[in-house]
């Protein structure tokens, strides 16, 4: 139990540090939220009232405590521009990002596992797969997106250019996002299979004449899964930040678009809420990955410290 407990506590600690860091960074900024709301020509009495209303007249540690208490209840404050609750704004934009992310993950898994297995089984494919996956990693999202639009939407007129009105709108963005993710995953799957496949117990299995399929699927793959799963967790970060760029390319109104807009409007509570939300998701995904190790690999006993690769 102690392994689970320690990981969860660390997760909380990381979230708390992130929240504190963002909170104090916001207070260091030269710009004043009251001025953003009221404009520069506000009367002093107005400024004073609003300052009281927002709790900005209280000492810093009181504000910090109130902020943490709000956070524990899921309250991220209110937007400076629209006055709506930040949590509500995020929830309204979240479905688009979730659709995009899920579809990208599905495409990534569908591409990378067959390709990784194929290149492991056939050394002749090593170089082509290396070249394809490296170019997939090297092509920037924000360049690949427009190229795909040019080809599939403008020239071939198969798919819509941008927006998020129908499922078809999500195809090109997901492919854009999945390219780099699957390129990296293919590399890891290949490497991991290679490392496991050259161990002596596998050689012994070959020597005993077991069928290829059986050795591969029930011996090599399960044991090679740990590094692969770790990378999937790592890719959650690339996925989250990738959605910010991809949403902008395809004008999808998800949380990435929201973040960039909030930054442009200097809506700091919204920026703060979004940064906390995104890093929270990332920390949770990696926590889930860590907690799944003992389930995937019984050798990792509970309570034994796992040395991350």
């Amino acid at each position: 139990m102690s392994y689970f407990l320690r990981r969860i506590l660390t997760g909380f600690f990381i979230l708390w540090t992130a929240a504190s860091l963002v909170f104090f960074l916001m207070r260091l900024l030269p710009s004043d939220p009251v001025e953003i709301i009221l404009g520069e020509n506000a009367r002093p009495s107005q400024v004073e009232t609003l300052r009281k209303e927002l709790g900005l007249d209280k000492p810093l540690w009181v504000q910090y405590w109130a902020f943490l208490r709000g956070l524990a209840r899921g309250d991220l404050g209110r937007s400076l521009i629209s006055g709506q609750k930040v949590s509500r704004i995020i929830l309204a934009h979240l479905p688009y990002t979730i659709k995009l992310a899920l579809l990208s993950i599905i495409i990534t898994l569908l591409i990378s596992f067959p390709l990784g297995l194929l290149s492991f089984l056939n050394p002749k494919l090593d170089l082509p797969v290396f070249l394809i996956s490296t170019s997939g990693l090297a092509v920037p999202n924000f360049w690949l997106g427009p190229l795909l639009i040019l080809l599939f939407s403008v020239k071939l007129k198969l798919l819509p250019v941008s927006g998020a009105d129908s499922p078809a709108h999500f195809i090109l963005p997901s492919i854009t996002l999945a390219t780099a993710l699957s390129a990296y995953l293919v590399k890891i799957i290949r490497k991991s299979l290679h490392e496991e496949g050259t161990k002596t117990y596998i050689m012994a299995l070959w020597a005993r004449g077991l069928p290829r399929k059986r050795v591969l699927l029930s011996h090599i793959l399960p044991n090679a899964l740990i590094p692969i799963i770790t990378v999937v967790g790592l890719e959650a970060g690339a996925l989250l930040t990738g959605t910010i760029i991809t949403e902008r390319v395809f004008s999808i109104p998800g949380i990435g678009t929201l973040l960039i807009r909030a930054i442009g409007e200097r809506d700091y509570p919204l920026v703060q809420g979004l940064v906390l939300f995104i890093s929270g998701v990332y920390v949770l995904v990696n926590l889930a990955v860590d907690l799944s190790y003992p389930l995937i690999d019984p050798r990792i006993r509970l309570g034994r410290r796992l040395e991350a690769k």
Binding site: I14, T17, A18, V22, L25, M26, L29, L127, F130, L131, T134, S135, L137, A138, V139, P140, N141, F142, W143, P146, L147, I149, L150, V154, Y184, K187, K191, V231, L234, E235, G237, A238, L240, T241, I244, I245, R248, V249, I260, I263, G264, V271, V275, I278, S279, Y282, V283, N286
Partner: protein
């Protein structure tokens, strides 16, 4: 040709071409409304942009700005990361514990999000970008060099040096660093590619290099609205960006491309 040779070749293409393009007489920032959105020609090898500026000259300058920026970031992150890693790995104790906890903490967040938050709050521009992108970049070097120096600390040749009275800095330089550097070099190549991509991504989002400074990411963003009328606006900057990143990744071959994503 081995992949890493081919990688060097790919990496040099945009650099050499940009070097030649810099010799062009056109200015990269002079606005000329009479020559807007001209297709590629002899006087404008990559056409002109929305404000009539020469795209080729802007791409060339963008390439060198990107290179300078990423080189600075890699220089800062490698030296800070390696120094801290060797020091904490070798000394152990409280320092080691403190440094490694800081590393764990920074690595718990996606590096790009940290950089984005930083420039979103404090503004973009060349120097802010360098700080933002170095902020969490040193952690991977720190972890790598710490691992190596913890292992080396137990080796006989290090112990005998200590017994002979060699000062710590001398041991770091002559016994530890030579073992750390080859690993760091591969990592640095990959993360230079990562930094180039991160910088251009931020510039694409409008948070990185600010106009009129030419940046490859910013140019791709400007060209997005003119994909049909003027595809050269985003085609050329993207191609150069791709070649730079592809070349660097291939130079590092298979080893440790993890740094690219963190």
């Amino acid at each position: 040709m081995r992949p890493n040779k081919l990688g060097l070749f790919l990496f040099l293409i945009p650099i050499v071409v940009s070097g030649l393009l810099l010799l062009l007489p056109q200015s990269s920032t002079a606005v000329n409304m009479k020559e807007r959105l001209l297709p590629p020609s002899w006087s404008h090898p990559m056409g002109t942009d929305l404000l009539g500026r020469d795209v080729a000259k802007r791409v060339a300058e963008g390439v060198f700005i990107s290179l300078a920026l990423s080189f600075m970031v890699v220089l800062i992150t490698t030296s800070v990361g390696t120094a801290l890693g060797i020091l904490s790995g070798f000394s152990g104790g409280v320092l080691d514990e403190a440094v490694m906890r800081a590393v764990d903490l920074l690595m718990a967040f996606p590096g790009f999000l940290l950089a984005l938050t930083f420039v979103a709050l404090l503004g973009g521009g060349f120097w802010n970008l360098i700080i933002a992108l170095s902020f969490s970049g040193w952690t991977s070097y720190c972890r790598l060099s710490r691992g190596i120096s913890v292992r080396l600390r137990e080796e006989d040749f290090v112990a005998s040096s200590l017994v002979l009275g060699a000062p710590y800095p001398w041991i770091f330089l002559h016994h530890i660093l030579p073992h750390v550097l080859p690993v760091i070099r591969v990592q640095a190549t990959v993360s230079m590619a990562g930094v180039i991509l991160a910088e251009s991504s931020l510039s694409f989002l409008g948070l990185g290099l600010q106009p009129p400074t030419p940046s490859l990411g910013g140019m791709i963003d400007e060209g997005r609205g003119f994909l049909l009328q003027a595809p050269w606006l985003s085609l050329f900057p993207g191609l150069f960006l791709f070649l730079l990143i592809m070349g660097l990744l291939m130079m590092a071959e298979e080893k440790n491309q993890e740094a690219f994503f963190s």
